[in-house]
């Protein structure tokens, strides 16, 4: 029997799972779309991971991170639930102990983490604007009739990226339509978009942060060669993209699940358990809290969302 540790990173767009062995080597990994339903996505994720996994591996720790970390943590009986900033930092420093800057652009948010000796010293997360995130790039790719996977390669072909107002999705979009109407070549527009993502990121999340080498770029968008190119160009520095860059959060939380092992064995067989959430608006006061009640196997286990704490 071998011990394994599962890390699950549930983002708004994609769900990532990684299983590590006792030496923290990656045994299995999987990347699937969340499709707006984290519960369903994680059930599928675990099912497929189990099929891939050698039979003699048993799971002794599960960690969850990402925007649905709490809910999924309950569902899979996680021994650790951590925010994605910490998870990303832990994952990255495992492979690159002297990393100074982590740039991360995901589906719906982006962050920057500064470290020193594997310790987070500063970080920032975008709060307001969706321009320059994966979701924005996908929607623009669709608008231009380009596969998102070809997006980066097309961008590299451009010699003359168009300038696109990068501050805000609304402006960027109207600017983009305008540029397309005027007749700029597609690759120049795509390159312009990639460039605007970088500029927007640096102006927004990266503002006032001292970006020092070594720099690592991760998150879904790090798979886009165009964006990587402009990061290198604008920062005038090497920007490392790990082949597992999209899995760093999941790896980080798996590592944490390992270090917080509680001796309890866990199962990947959750496809058949019933896990439901029921939302309702509480009408006891004018706060009208959205109460979310969580049921596992038809028994109520927890509720969230009550501001006064008296309602469950």
């Amino acid at each position: 029997m071998r011990k394994g540790y599962l890390g699950i990173d549930i983002g708004s767009i994609s769900t990532k799972g990684v299983i590590l062995d006792e030496e923290n080597n990656i045994l299995e990994s999987l990347y699937i779309w969340t499709e707006g339903n984290p519960i369903k996505a994680v059930k599928r994720l675990l099912k497929e991971l189990k099929e891939q996994l050698d039979e003699d591996v048993e799971i002794y720790g599960i960690g969850t991170t990402g925007s649905a970390r709490k809910l999924i943590g309950l569902m899979v009986d996680a021994n650790i639930v951590k925010n994605e900033i910490t998870a990303h930092a832990v994952g990255t420093t495992h492979f690159y102990p002297n990393v100074k800057t982590i740039l991360e652009i995901g589906g719906q948010d982006s962050k920057i983490i500064l470290l020193n000796d594997s310790i987070i010293t500063d970080y920032a997360m975008n709060t307001l604007c969706a321009a320059g995130t994966g979701a924005f790039l996908s929607s623009q790719a669709k608008r231009l009739g380009v596969e998102i996977n070809d997006f980066g390669m097309l961008a590299l072909k451009s010699r003359n990226p168009v300038k696109i107002a990068a501050r805000c999705t609304v402006f960027a979009e109207s600017d983009l339509i305008h540029k397309a109407q005027v007749g700029y070549p597609k690759e120049d527009i795509i390159a312009g978009l990639c460039r605007s993502v970088v500029l927007n990121y640096l102006n927004n999340v990266g503002k006032g942060k001292k970006i020092e080498k070594p720099i690592i770029f991760q998150g879904g968008v790090s798979k886009n060669e165009g964006v990587v190119k402009y990061f290198r160009e604008i920062l005038n520095a090497d920007v490392i993209v790990d082949s597992n860059s999209h899995l760093m959060g999941a790896i980080g939380i798996a590592l944490l699940a390992h270090s917080h092992e509680d001796g309890k064995k866990r199962t990947l067989n959750i496809a058949d358990i019933s896990f439901e959430t029921k939302g309702r608006e509480c009408d006891k006061c004018s706060n009208h809290c959205e109460i979310l009640r969580i049921y596992k196997d038809h028994t109520f286990i927890e509720s969230w969302g009550s501001k006064c704490g008296k309602i469950s």
Partner: protein, 304 residues
Amino acid sequence: MDKVTIGIPRALHYYYYGTLWTSFLEELGFRVLVSPKTTKDILTSGCNLSNDEMCLSLKIYFGHVYTLESKCDYILVPRIDNYGVTEQTCTNFLGLFDMVQNFITTPLLTYNIDEAHQKHEMNEFIKLGLSLGKGKEQSKLAYIHSFKKWLKENKIRKKEESKKLNSQKIKILLVSHPYNIEDPYIGSEILKLLKNMNVEVIMAEAFISREGNKKALELSPNLYWKYNKELIGTIPLLQKQIDGILYVSSFPCALDSLVNELMLRKIKMPHLNLIVDEESGSAGMETRLESFIDILYEKREKAR
């Protein structure tokens, strides 16, 4: 030996006191270097130096300060807090000196207007002269001369602007801080568009008067912001001679957000409120201006 050069950022209070400063410093024998008109680069460096939530006008100011860095011996960054308890300025003007100090290495020249605490303009200018190694009398005279010159300039401006009131065209009163409407990246585009639409634009800033300030207090008794008071005071003075009012402010101007909203509610006459940020495209602006002007024309037709 080269003359000592003093840099002045062409932004914010430059549009009120530019003449006063230039004349004062030149009379004392200094070379004055005013930063060039706002360009895309100035705006970009300003944005990089500022916090996202700062108003566009302040971001532009930072950009101007930055272009002067190491091009002069001093940069003039005054702190203008108030001209009395009920004549306050914007909090950005209070913090300006300290904010700039935070990112610039060129030494700053400053003076502090805080009349609520007996810091008056003349004395502060004398102190400024003294700090530059000039005599007290000399500085005082330079101030008085410059002040007179400044007054005269404003008078001429008002006279010129008043002529427009006789025009037969559609007349719009443009209510906007001069540092916004006169800045190439905030107001110039609007002025250009209006010019093409063949309307007469009356600049409220040229009609500032004591009488207007009194009228402003009838509209808003508690208004304690000097520059806004001066601007809205022109509305009741000119209301009968104009067809509509155009408010232009920079995003997200703290004072305009309240005062202009109150005016929109209180002054019953056609109006348009434009808020400019660094991404405002002229396309959207043009449509809004056009439809506004159309309304004014229609109203005039009906009145006939």
